[in-house]
């Protein structure tokens, strides 16, 4: 079965992103595929390369990156939600004349159309909210 995952809760504030990671690992382990993981609303913070949690806590952005590399996952961060919250890639940092960018290179900024397209092409869309 083809799944897509939506994450709307912020990492560390809510369990959404951590639960979505566990669910995604299980889905892949059972032989299903994940068409896309879409990070929306506060979920965009999962794409920050600058998160520095204490060593005895999970580094959620790094765990997404590791899973994406292993399974060739498409990690998409909603661009409108992200730039509002200061999650920028190099292009957006330049466009808004900001001094730095923090989107992890394994994530892509894109529009809500990517969420709808994921819904059209997937058998199931599972949302992890706050």
């Amino acid at each position: 079965m083809i799944f897509s995952i939506v994450v709307t809760g912020a990492p560390y504030s809510s369990q959404a992103s951590a639960s979505a990671l566990q669910f995604s690992r299980s889905v892949l382990k059972l032989g299903h595929t994940i068409h896309r993981v879409f990070f929306y609303a506060d979920g965009v913070h999962s794409g920050s390369a600058l998160a520095a949690p204490p060593q005895d806590e999970a580094n959620i952005p790094s765990e997404w990156t590791a899973l994406a590399c292993e399974h060739d996952l498409d990690l998409v961060v909603c661009i409108a939600a992200a730039v509002r919250r200061g999650v920028l890639d190099e292009n957006e940092a330049r466009r808004y004349e900001k001094s730095g960018h923090n989107l992890s290179p394994d994530f892509t900024l894109s529009g809500l159309g990517q969420l709808v397209e994921a819904g059209i092409l997937s058998d199931r869309v599972v949302t992890f909210g706050a």
Partner: protein, 122 residues
């Protein structure tokens, strides 16, 4: 755009202000409509407060949501389902809502969810 059609249901559960959920859901609704997919919206819990007319959101420094909700019709989004129990619990009469809504009891809600291809929850 894909030729495949999927029916989408957006479940709204949150109050119009206090979190970005209502606006996030509305943005997704408009995008689904741009993709010309069949779409229904369901309002449950505090989300029924989104449907009340004449919000004065400027008083709390927020953008008014009700103007966007009235845009739904322009986008041909006319399947607006409302949890009857949530209205009753909050003392809202269906007549207080100026949009064309369809009231559902709990079994109606279950049937609505069951017939969808995709359900997104906010």
């Amino acid at each position: 755009m894909s030729d495949t059609k999927k029916s989408f249901l957006i479940i709204n559960r949150k109050a119009p202000y206090g979190s970005s959920a209502a606006r996030d859901a509305l943005d997704v609704a408009l995008t689904i409509s741009v993709f010309e997919q069949p779409l229904s919206l369901l309002f449950m819990d505090d989300a029924v407060l989104q449907l009340l007319p004449a919000h004065n959101a400027a008083a709390i420094g927020q953008k008014n949501l009700s103007a966007n909700l009235s845009m739904l019709e322009m986008y041909d989004i006319d399947q607006l389902y409302v949890c009857q129990r949530a209205l009753e619990q909050r003392g809202i009469r269906p007549d207080d809502i100026e949009l064309n809504i369809i009231l559902l009891d709990q079994s109606g809600i279950a049937a609505l969810i069951k017939k969808q291809d995709q359900v997104l929850s906010f």
